[in-house]
C-alpha cells in the first residue's frame, strides 16, 4: 500500500500566525472585562471612602441613632449585627454540617436523596426576600418571637443554610476514599471514621465555605425589612427576644433620608460593613492557606 500523507506539516505551520492572532484577540477581550470590573470597583470604593471617611469618628461608634446627623452613630447597628450573628452562626453551622454529613455519609444514594439534593441546591438560588416572608410567617408570627434578634437570626440562618450545606458537602466529598478505607479497615465504626478522619480533613473546606455564607447574612437587607426589624433604635438589646437593628438596616435608613449628611453617614456605615466582610473573607482565606500548607 502506498503511504499518501493526508496531513501536511507545511500547511499546518503556515496556519500558526492566524492561530496566534486569535489568541491575542481573546486575551484582549478578557483583559478588558477585568479592567472594566476593576474600574467600577475602584470608583465605588473611592466615592464611599471620600464621602464616609470624615464621619468615621469615635463618636460615630459611640452614638445611637439620632434625628440630628452630627449626633447619629452606629453603635446599636454594630452590636445588633453581632447579636444576630451569634444566632445565625451556630444555627446554620449545626444544621448545615449535620445535613451535609447525613447526605454524604449515611443517606442511600436513591431517588429521594437526589430529590432532596436538588431542592437544597435550588434553595440556594431563592431570592432572600422569600426567606424574609418565611421568617415573618414562622418565627415572627407562629412562634411569636416578634421583631426580635431570634426571629431575624433564624431567618438569616435559613437563608444561608443551603450554601453552608453545599459547601460542607463538597468539603466532605473531597476526603480521599483511601483514608476512609484505612479507618474502616481497622474496624472503626462509621461515626469514628467521620469524627477522626472525615471531619478533620474536611473542616478547613467547611469553615471557608461557611464563613463566606455567613458574610452574606451580615450584608443582607431584604429579609430584615420583611421580618420588620426597626431602623431607629436608641438602645442596646439585653436578650435574644429584644428588638434590635442591624448594619444594613441602618445604612438603608440613612440613605432614604433627604439630608446629604445622612448620605455621608450611610457611606461611613458601608465602610464598616465592608471592613467586616473583608475581615471575614480574610479569615476564610487564612484558614484555607493554613491547612493547605499542611
Amino acid at each position: 500500500m502506498e503511504n499518501t500523507a493526508r496531513v501536511k506539516s507545511e500547511e499546518m505551520v503556515s496556519r500558526i500566525d492566524g492561530r496566534l492572532a486569535k489568541n491575542k484577540v481573546v486575551k484582549g477581550i478578557f483583559l478588558t472585562a477585568t479592567i472594566f470590573t476593576s474600574i467600577i470597583l475602584i470608583v465605588l470604593l473611592y466615592r464611599i471612602i471620600s464621602q464616609g471617611a470624615p464621619y468615621l469618628t469615635w463618636d460615630f461608634f459611640q452614638n445611637f441613632a439620632s434625628r440630628r446627623p452630627e449626633q447619629a452613630g452606629i453603635k446599636a447597628a454594630v452590636i445588633g449585627t453581632l447579636w444576630m450573628m451569634s444566632v445565625v452562626i451556630p444555627t446554620a453551622a449545626i444544621l448545615g454540617v449535620g445535613t451535609a454529613i447525613y447526605l454524604e455519609e449515611y443517606a442511600k444514594k436513591n431517588k429521594l436523596t437526589r430529590w432532596i439534593q436538588m431542592n437544597i441546591s435550588n434553595l440556594a438560588g431563592v431570592p432572600s426576600v422569600v426567606f424574609g416572608l418565611l421568617g415573618l410567617t414562622i418565627f415572627v408570627r407562629v412562634f411569636g418571637f416578634g421583631n426580635s434578634i431570634l426571629a431575624a437570626g433564624f431567618t438569616m440562618a435559613l437563608l444561608v443554610l443551603p450554601v453552608v450545606i453545599v459547601a460542607a458537602q463538597e468539603a466532605i466529598r473531597a476526603v480521599p476514599k483511601e483514608l476512609k478505607e484505612a479507618s474502616f479497615g481497622l474496624g472503626a465504626t462509621k461515626w469514628q471514621t467521620i469524627y477522626r478522619v472525615v471531619l478533620p480533613y474536611a473542616i478547613p473546606g467547611i469553615a471557608t465555605g461557611s464563613i463566606l455564607a455567613f458574610s452574606r447574612a451580615i450584608g443582607e437587607t431584604a429579609p430584615l425589612i420583611v421580618v420588620g426589624i426597626p431602623t431607629f433604635v436608641a438602645f442596646l438589646p439585653s436578650g435574644y427576644l429584644d428588638s434590635f437593628t442591624a448594619l444594613p438596616m441602618q445604612i438603608y435608613n440613612w440613605t432614604s433620608r433627604p439630608q446629604v449628611d445622612f448620605h455621608n453617614l450611610a457611606a461611613a456605615g458601608i465602610i464598616i460593613l465592608l471592613a467586616v466582610l473583608i475581615l471575614m473573607n480574610s479569615v476564610a482565606v487564612w484558614i484555607r492557606n493554613r491547612y493547605q500548607a499542611r
Partner: protein, 269 residues
C-alpha cells in the same frame, strides 16, 4: 445450626486439617448490579501461610480479597450468595459484626494510605478507636508494631513527624505496622507493592516472609514473579472463577490447567 452439624460430620474425618483453615469460601457468588464478578468460588485458606491470588486485570481477585473483610460493603449495589467462613464463623451472619471481623483481619491497600497525622498517631489510631487510652500501652505498641514492620530503625527519631514525610515504601510499611498494632490473625494485602519502586518492593516482600511466622497472609498481586517468590499457595483467578488453586510450586512448574500455563508463561494477561 444445621451448618455446624454438617461441619462436625466432615470434621470427624480430618479434624486436624480443618482447624488449620482461617478462611473457607463456599460457593461464593458476587454481583456488581448485573455484572457477575465472582462465580462459584471455593477456596480454603490455611493459617500461617502466604496465599497469593493472581490473575489478569478484572478477574475478580481484588473483589475477592475485599469480600474477605467485607470492605466490599462500601461499594453500593453489591449482592453476594454463598458463604465465607472465617474460623468457622459465617462473615455475612448478623451475629458477626463487621467491626470485629476487620479488627481480627487487617488490610493493606494498593496505594499507601497513611492518615495525615504523625507516624505515632497513625499507629495509635487503631488502638484509640478500640478504646485503648493508656499512653504507655500505646507507646509500647507503636514501637513494637514499627519493629514488626521493619520500620523502627528508620523512623525512631521522628515518630512524631508527619507520616507524609516518609517515602512510598516506608509509608506502605507504616500501613503494615498500623495493621500489626491490632494483633490481627490474618493480613489481607491488595497489590501492596504495585505503587512502589523495586527496592521498596523487595523490602515489603522480605517483611511478608517474616510476618508469615505469626500471621496468615493473603496477597493479591499482578506480579507473577512476586507470587512465585513469596507465597506458599497460589490461586489463579480468571473471569471471576478460580481456575486453579494449589501449592505455588505446582502452579508455576506443573499447572494442571492449560489456561494457568498460558497465563504464567505470559501468553496473555
Amino acid at each position: 445450626m444445621a451448618l455446624t452439624a454438617v461441619n462436625t460430620t466432615k470434621n470427624n474425618q480430618s479434624v486436624q486439617n480443618e482447624e488449620l483453615f482461617v478462611y473457607n469460601t463456599k460457593n461464593l457468588n458476587l454481583w456488581y448490579g448485573e455484572h457477575h464478578a465472582l462465580k462459584n468460588i471455593n477456596l480454603g485458606i490455611k493459617e500461617r501461610e502466604v496465599t497469593a491470588i493472581i490473575g489478569p486485570s478484572g478477574c475478580g481477585k481484588s473483589t475477592y480479597i475485599k469480600t474477605l473483610n467485607r470492605m466490599i460493603d462500601l461499594v453500593p449495589g453489591v449482592k453476594t450468595t454463598g458463604q465465607i467462613e472465617y474460623r468457622d464463623r459465617d462473615i455475612f451472619s448478623k451475629d458477626f459484626l463487621v467491626e470485629e471481623l476487620r479488627t481480627r483481619v487487617g488490610m493493606v491497600f494498593q496505594k499507601p494510605n497513611p492518615f495525615p497525622k504523625s507516624i505515632y498517631e497513625n499507629i495509635a489510631f487503631g488502638l484509640k478507636i478500640h478504646g485503648i487510652k493508656n499512653k504507655q500501652i500505646i507507646t509500647e505498641t507503636v514501637e513494637k508494631s514499627l519493629r514488626g514492620a521493619a520500620l523502627w530503625d528508620e523512623v525512631k527519631d521522628r515518630i512524631h513527624e508527619p507520616a507524609y514525610g516518609l517515602s512510598g515504601g516506608q509509608q506502605q510499611r507504616l500501613c503494615i505496622a498500623r495493621c500489626l498494632a491490632l494483633e490481627p490473625d490474618v493480613i489481607l494485602m491488595d497489590e501492596p507493592t504495585s505503587a512502589l519502586d523495586p527496592v521498596s518492593t523487595l523490602k515489603v516482600e522480605e517483611l511478608i516472609q517474616e510476618l508469615k511466622e505469626k500471621y496468615s497472609i493473603i496477597i493479591v498481586t499482578h506480579n507473577m514473579q512476586q507470587a512465585a517468590r513469596i507465597s506458599d499457595k497460589t490461586a489463579f483467578f480468571l473471569n471471576g472463577e478460580v481456575v486453579e488453586f494449589n501449592s505455588t510450586d505446582t502452579i508455576f512448574n506443573n499447572p494442571a490447567d492449560s489456561r494457568t500455563d498460558d497465563y504464567i508463561s505470559g501468553r496473555f494477561g
